[in-house]
């Protein structure tokens, strides 16, 4: 969503984030809130537009891929300057890509693993050689892996780059006070500086939604990110506030343990529980849940029911629309349990995080599943403990979610491939593995959509990760501010924002 009312130059905008971003280093950063901050100071080779399509940002055009899919050529814009005043050229891109891939602890290493080598073949031309054809690469370069850092700053600060980040962006880093604020100011050297109106930008972590809303009302902040449905309802009653929203590319659901005995990413083993033994029990569990009711009761109907890994809004390979999700069928669920010959009620320990929303999801699922013959014991756990338990395989079921990636591969491969880096479920299905490999290698968009359609069906048939809903990104802003852009990746873009005239 965009707001195009004319704005005046100058002023400071304060954006409240739902949590404090982690490291401001594109190679190491992990959080969605961090990506929002980066959108103002670290541009990428590619970005997405309001329709979710990939467009060039620091690159001059979309990349060219060789026929065998093994060589990708990226042409850069010329005349770009980093915030430290040095120039961006092909060698800076090579330095950044290699750092993203090779830096110990890099969060980009997995998605850049297919990158064999990278070289500057001209002052503004970069050639990437791949180990195998890798179509998701363009989506990857439209995220943090595509951010180019100033080689001078990297050399000067090394590991401490996080406290002195320098990239190309509408704003440059001024200071960060941990837990309090991140301050940026307008970069006069930015190539598109005439479209930037604000002088300063402050990002402030305010974890509590109602506190974010109170601050919007009092005018202490102008933009509130990631507002919950309850707060959005209340914000809608205020005449001086406006609402932006965008569908999410991620998903939220329930992960079931079908073979995680040694830990995430390890070889799956046998688990002796009704859920792990028999796919019919898992199907029965899924059939006991009414996604629409869950959405209405817990989220005031303001999120989207979901039943597959890829959002129907994906511009690359649209997933199943909410209307086509399987409906609740308690009779069939009971029948399946009978066929499976399990003793009812089937006991399941369901680990949920301690957030109010997660607890409510747990309670609604508990009540629904009971009617079909499941006895669900809820185990609320603080987030870090929950991660520990689920990664180690000490669970029957847990709330499993993902903020989403542009390319469908980013929502699927790591989670569902046998021994995938984040496959905490112990799922191992040769057909799914094969389709993941096909989807990665296929360049034709029509064929890819078909492959991901088939893949989503196989994933649904496995009933291991039960997709329930997609969050919507709700952003509330004061009406005195215009030019904010919110696209499908959930980031708040304030490059063109300013105060209305």
């Amino acid at each position: 969503m965009t707001d195009t009312r004319p704005v005046r130059d100058g002023g400071t905008l304060t954006v409240a984030l739902a949590s404090d971003p982690d490291k401001l280093d594109p190679s190491l950063a992990q959080t969605l809130v961090g990506r929002t901050v980066f959108s103002s100071m670290c541009e990428k080779l590619y970005d997405i537009d309001e329709h979710g399509a990939v467009v060039p940002q620091l690159a001059a055009a979309l990349p060219k891929t060789s026929k065998d899919g093994l060589t990708v050529t990226v042409q850069l814009r010329d005349g770009l300057k980093f915030s430290d005043g040095t120039s961006l050229d092909a060698r800076s891109v090579v330095t950044s890509l290699l750092r993203h891939r090779d830096l110990p602890g890099s969060a980009r290493a997995t998605e850049l693993a297919p990158l064999k080598s990278v070289a500057a073949t001209g002052p503004y031309t970069v050639e990437l050689k791949l180990r195998q054809p890798y179509t998701p690469l363009i989506g990857v370069l439209a995220d943090r892996s595509g951010m180019v850092m100033s080689p001078t700053a990297l050399k000067k600060y090394g590991k401490n780059f996080t406290n002195h980040p320098s990239c190309v962006g509408p704003f440059t880093f001024v200071e960060r006070v941990g837990g309090d604020r991140i301050v940026l100011k307008k970069d006069p050297d930015y190539y598109d500086a005439d479209k930037v109106h604000l002088d300063r930008l402050i990002y402030k972590p305010i974890p509590d939604g109602s506190v974010r809303l109170a601050n919007l009302r009092s005018g202490d902040i102008q933009v509130g990110d990631q507002m919950t449905p309850v707060d959005v309802r209340s914000a809608l009653t205020e005449s001086k506030l406006q609402l932006f929203n965008s569908p999410s590319l991620g998903y939220q659901g329930i992960g079931l343990n079908v073979g995680n005995v040694k830990g995430t990413g390890e070889k799956p083993g046998k688990i002796d529980s009704p859920l792990a033994r028999d796919v019919r029990v898992r199907e029965a569990f899924e059939l006991s849940i009414d996604r629409d009711v869950l959405n209405k009761v817990v989220f005031q109907g303001m999120y989207e029911p979901a039943c597959g890994p890829v959002s129907p809004e994906s511009a690359i390979a649209p997933g199943v629309p909410a209307a086509q999700c399987p409906k609740r069928d308690v009779a069939k669920a009971r029948r399946l349990l009978k066929e499976a010959g399990v003793k009812t009620p089937v006991r399941i320990e369901f680990k949920v995080s301690t957030t109010p929303e997660s607890s409510r999801v747990g309670q609604v699922v508990q009540a629904m599943a009971k009617e079909a013959g499941f006895d669900i014991e809820l185990r609320p756990m603080e987030y870090a403990t929950l991660l520990d338990e689920t990664d180690a395989g000490h669970y029957d079921a847990f709330t499993s979610g993902w903020s989403g990636r542009l390319d469908p591969d980013g929502n699927i491969a790591s989670f569902l491939k046998t021994q995938g880096a984040m496959n905490a479920y112990g799922l191992s299905d040769p057909k799914i593995d094969q389709l993941i490999a096909q989807g990665r290698a296929e360049a034709d968009p029509v064929q890819r959509t078909k492959i991901y359609g088939e893949l989503s069906q196989s994933v649904r048939d496995a009933h291991t990760l039960i997709y329930l809903y997609r969050q919507k990104n709700y952003i509330v802003a004061t009406k005195s501010v215009s030019g904010i852009r919110v696209y499908g990746d959930g980031l708040v873009r304030v490059k063109t924002a300013g105060y209305t005239r």
Binding site: T31, A109, T110, G178, G179, D208, S218, W402, M422
Partner: protein, 317 residues
């Protein structure tokens, strides 16, 4: 007096050492792998191994403690595993916020609490006492979060006299600083004011019925002198004890207040560190808080001996 101080100082140092051991071991006993918490969404086994390596999490706990305490003694509390910022800087930035908040809350608690306590004791059985008791009961029973939100709605949104959030150092803009600190101080101080009021009232009632007060009255001293110089001074020992104990609670109570008013203080730093298993920050924060506790207790003990000379060590003059 010097001997007494030295003894107390030695005890304090031993306590601080023990606290550092307990904190270090306690944090590591928390469930949840810090590498997992740090890795966030994208936690591949390779990334986890690199994190463990870079933060020395693979080493023996004794080795880790030795390294930590060695650095801490030179003032290096490490860097936050989440933000990469130096912990000492984070603490230095957060400390003035919480100290100012606590000091203002304490001031409010002392002025309101002791004042109301005296009134309640002196005007026993009269409407003034019922009123003071009712206020105290409210101060104790209203949840901090609710009080905070109501005050924000009333005085930052409906009647925008104060700011709803944020912190501006006193040195930068004293007026803006107070505009942002008054509401949080009221929220944090309200509970303490109630406790102080009840303690003052009880101690004053005891004192007022004591023989020396009757003697003072019989000598024909003025009412103000009897209450101020005799009854109140003797009641203060109890009140100071309570204040000392409650000051620690103020720092922990600041956790909620700082969340409501988005103040970048100790409370917020601690909560964030716990949830992200940011060992370095958490250790630094807890160690500093413990040091503050110990220091406050030391000061309270010294204050006792000033208020009541009988408390000094036997033989000391």
């Amino acid at each position: 007096m010097t001997k007494y101080l030295l003894t107390r100082l030695r005890q304090s140092l031993i306590t601080l050492f023990l606290v550092s051991v307990v904190v270090f071991a306690g944090i590591r006993a928390l469930p949840g792998d810090p590498a997992l918490a740090m890795a966030g969404e994208e936690r591949s086994p390779a990334a986890l191994a690199a994190i463990r390596q870079s933060y020395g999490l693979n080493d023996n706990i004794v080795v880790q403690y030795g390294r930590y305490i060695g650095h801490a003694l030179t003032g290096d509390l490490g860097t936050s595993s989440r933000t990469g910022l130096p912990v000492a800087d984070a603490i230095a930035a957060a400390l003035p916020v919480t100290l100012e908040l606590s000091a203002l809350a304490l001031l409010l608690a002392v002025v309101v609490g002791i004042g109301a306590g005296i009134v309640a004791a002196v005007r026993r059985g009269k409407p003034a006492e019922w009123f003071a008791n009712a206020i105290a009961l409210l101060g104790l029973s209203i949840p901090t979060f609710w009080l905070g939100m109501v005050l924000v709605l009333a005085f930052a949104i409906a009647l925008p006299v104060f700011a709803a959030s944020g912190y501006v150092p006193f040195g930068t803009d004293p007026l803006d600083n107070l505009r942002r600190m008054v509401l949080p101080a009221i929220v944090l101080g309200s509970g303490l004011a109630a406790v102080v009021m009840r303690q003052t009232r009880a101690a004053m009632l005891d004192s007022l019925s004591a023989d020396y007060v009757r003697t003072a009255r019989a000598k024909g001293l003025r009412r103000r002198e009897v209450i101020g110089a005799h009854a109140l001074r003797n009641s203060l020992v109890t009140v100071v004890t309570v204040l000392g104990l409650q000051l620690g609670h103020l720092i922990s109570g600041a956790v909620v207040t700082e969340q409501i008013f988005v103040l970048p203080g100790f409370g917020k730093l601690t909560i964030d560190a716990v949830f992200t298993r940011d060992y370095a920050t958490l250790q630094g924060v807890v160690l500093c808080t413990s040091a503050a506790y110990i220091l406050i207790n030391l000061l309270v003990d010294v204050l006792y001996s000033v208020i009541d000379p009988r408390i000094r060590l036997g033989g000391a003059k």
